[in-house]
């Protein structure tokens, strides 16, 4: 899941400066699941904004709406008429959703209410951890299901650096486990250490330009 966090309300207000009628648009996808940009958070942010504006004596009208996902056109049809009533849109989706809204309504200013933080997992309610940097060339099969690109502070590919602490934590933070320490321990327990004793050559980074994916069955449809 994509995990996001709400921006400080002051930053959102700064973006909204000069607008008097805006739509706060929630997303029912990932940002709803991570309790950052769903219907409930739209309610809360809109309420907080109204309060702040009232405190400063400025006028603003905030409409509220949440669609199933801000990253697919199918969910936008009934929104096309609604947005015409507003001067700007606050999007509570991830960065991808914000851009999708902006591309659909190019005449309308769009403002992100969230910072998109990472692709991660739920550790508990309201507690998430980053696990994937979407590098596009997965090595998890050789690294015991532990990502060195994401979980090693230096994204090393050939084992732990010299900074691994005596308790097996990373040099940057005593509380942060060293990814390569964990990879070693797990591969050892599986008796598969030979996977990391060979030199892994420099990788070809495939995430340096914008990527698109067209799945094999659809190639005839989209590729001329």
């Amino acid at each position: 899941m994509i995990v996001a966090e709400q921006k400080p309300i002051e930053e959102i207000m700064k973006m909204l400066h000069g607008f008097t009628k805006v739509l706060n648009l929630g997303c029912g996808g990932c940002t709803s699941i991570c309790l950052a940009g769903g219907q409930k958070e739209v309610d809360t942010l809109s309420h907080d904004l109204r309060q702040k504006y009232a405190d400063t004596g400025a006028a603003i009208e905030i409409g509220e709406h949440t669609i199933e996902r801000q990253c697919n056109a199918d969910f936008f049809f009934h929104l096309d008429d609604l947005v015409k009533e507003y001067q700007a849109v606050i999007s509570m989706a991830c960065g991808a959703g914000v851009q999708f809204v902006a591309d659909r309504y190019p005449a309308l200013p769009i403002f992100p209410a969230l910072n998109t933080t990472f692709v991660g997992v739920d550790l508990d309610v309201g507690w998430y951890e980053e696990n994937c940097r979407t590098c596009g060339d997965c090595v998890l099969g050789d690294t015991a299901g532990i990502c060195p690109v994401t979980r090693c502070a230096k994204s090393l590919f050939n084992g732990p650096c010299g900074g691994t602490r005596l308790n097996g934590s990373c040099e940057v933070d005593k509380e942060l486990p060293c990814a390569w320490y964990e990879i070693h321990q797990r591969l050892k327990s599986q008796d598969r250490l030979e996977l990391i004793t060979k030199v892994r050559p420099a990788r070809e980074w495939v995430n340096q330009t914008r990527r698109t994916v067209i799945q094999a069955p659809y190639r005839d449809r989209y590729q001329k």
Binding site: A153, K154, S155, L156, F157, N158, G159, P160, C161, G162, G163, T164, R165, L166, N167, G168, C170, E171, V172, C178, Y181, H184, Q185, L193, T197, K198, V199, R200, P201, A202, W205
Partner: protein
């Protein structure tokens, strides 16, 4: 010879080598470099020139290396993976070799979070082992990492670092083996204080036949004070300072700690001279360059050997 440098010649001749360390200034003072270099001249076979060490901006390692050459010292040009991608690295390697730098030490680099620009973007395009391998292929195959031919390949003696004390301990000898397989000619280790653990590591390296193929220089840093020892023990990740070492420093009494620190370092050097698989020492006298002549003298490592060109060849 791979590089035509002094360090390679000394090691190939089977002499017990010593390398020093010089941290570039945080400004443009050539004088500051010259002053530090003056203390090291004739005392060491090569001197490591650090590359933005602890992720703090300093004069470029290659530039400082060139000043050091003018002063009659051989630099060991350090390069970290934190600050440049493969294009910048290869460009700097060509320039370094063209201007007479003969040794390169390939490192991952301390994480940027430790330094004076903690929110800078760490590059880590390639890691230290991949860097070793890149330099090896540039030198021996005459190829850039991208596969194109180099018009005049660099001549460099390739170094890497090893920390025998980082966890997991049992992995560390395999990491050394990987650095050898990638193409490292020599290795300088992290500061050694736990001699028992170091012996275990070097024994493993001997058993695996690694020490016959790679020159290992044991890292030595004399303690200047009890505070420094405590700091190294508690704050430097991957450092192993046994408590009895600190006890011994305390026992030296007021005003005599630094002398005791040097004495410990010299005793360690004596041990390393006798240790199978150790080809020399890497003396990191951090901001203590002026004490290097005394330490090298006291460790009975003077005069340094002068190898006539060609005689180091096997």
């Amino acid at each position: 010879m791979k590089s035509g440098g002094n360090l390679e010649a000394v090691l190939n001749a089977g002499e017990f080598a010593i390398t020093g360390e010089l941290g570039p200034p945080r400004g443009t003072s050539i004088e500051a470099v010259r002053e530090k270099a003056a203390h090291l001249k004739g005392m060491v076979d090569a001197v490591n020139i650090t590359d933005n060490q602890t992720a703090v901006v300093r004069m470029a390692s290659w530039a400082t290396s060139l000043i050091v050459i003018e002063e009659g010292l051989e630099p060991n040009y350090q390069m970290v993976c934190r600050d440049r991608n493969r294009l910048a690295m290869q460009a700097d390697i060509l320039g370094a070799s063209a201007l007479g730098i003969r040794n390169i030490l390939c490192l991952s680099g301390d994480h940027q979070q430790f330094g004076d620009h903690p929110r800078s973007k760490g590059v880590f395009d390639i890691d230290s082992i991949q860097l070793v391998n890149m330099v090896k292929n540039m030198r021996d195959e005459g190829k850039f990492l991208g596969g194109d031919d180099i018009d005049g390949p660099p001549k460099l003696f390739i170094g890497a670092a090893a920390n025998p004390f980082g966890e997991p301990f049992e992995w560390r000898v395999h990491r050394l083996a990987k650095k050898l397989a990638a193409g490292a000619d020599f290795v300088q280790t992290q500061c050694i204080y736990n001699m028992k653990k170091f012996r275990q590591w070097i024994d493993e390296a001997n058993d695996m036949g690694l020490t016959e193929k790679i020159h290992i220089l044991a890292g030595v840093t004399p303690f200047k004070s009890i505070g420094m020892a405590r700091y190294m023990k508690n704050n430097v990740p991957g450092m192993d300072v046994p408590e009895d070492m600190i006890k011994r420093l305390k026992g030296a009494g007021k005003g005599k700690v630094a002398t005791e620190g040097i004495k410990i370092a010299c005793e360690q050097i004596e041990e390393f001279k006798e240790m199978k698989g150790v080809a020399g020492v890497h003396l990191m006298a951090i901001e203590w360059e002026h004490r290097v002549p005394q330490i090298v003298e006291q460790a009975k490592m003077l005069p340094r050997p002068v190898i006539t060109p060609g005689s180091g060849e096997a």
